[in-house]
């Protein structure tokens, strides 16, 4: 494990998570969650847990993003104030 890389990755993950829950554009929130999952996959690889990283990349960044966009197509893009 590289300490500096872990620090940068976890910092980015926290920033992305905060932005994803505060933004009112739901499409941006979905894309931020996709980036969050991908960064978490990198963090799992960094922790030598390749199997979990594989699942995170396939399900979190792939399938869940497609599901959320398909669900968003049934509703409005902008959250109410």
């Amino acid at each position: 494990m590289i300490f500096e890389l872990d620090l940068v990755l976890l910092f980015l993950v926290v920033i992305i998570a905060i932005v994803a829950i505060t933004t009112r554009d739901l499409l941006s929130a979905i894309m931020l969650l996709c980036a969050y999952s991908f960064l978490m996959a990198v963090v799992w690889v960094e922790m030598h847990s390749v199997d979990v990283a594989f699942t995170e990349a396939a399900v979190g960044a792939g399938a869940t993003t497609a599901f959320l966009i398909a669900a968003l197509s049934r509703t409005k893009r902008w959250e109410k104030k």
Partner: protein, 165 residues
Amino acid sequence: MPSKDTDTGTGKGRSIIVETVTRLMVPFIQLFALYVIIHGAGGPGGGFQGGVIFASSFVLYVVAFGIVKAGNRFSERANIVLFSTGVYLYAGVGLLCILFSYGAAQFLNYGYIPLTHHFEENRALGMDLVEVGIGITVMAVITSIFFNLVWKRENEEIGEREGED
């Protein structure tokens, strides 16, 4: 300023580049999914991950060609058959272990299935069979969830655009 109405691009506004790239990429995604399923016993991956990757190839197909064409290729009835095929494969391999050992082995104790003469090879082959069953079920379920999420919107669009092409 983006419009308030969302458009996922599943129906209209197709481009030749997206269609061609999809047509080239889908077989390779499916081949990679099969690789992940088969090598799941000895490395990273497995039935679940391979099934999700296989399903994501159908998601890509829907994004490029629209749900109607994808629904013709991969019908709801085939989906229902595939759900149960995977579960039956998983449960069947597990029960065969009990049957072949006359009740001595546990459920999914693969070594007792007499596929070869070696206990360890039986175990490896049984593990692969179970992974294939998991992969089939996960692929069918995730494809079905995505198709059901997209289906109604496209049907409404077809109803509105009736008479075109």
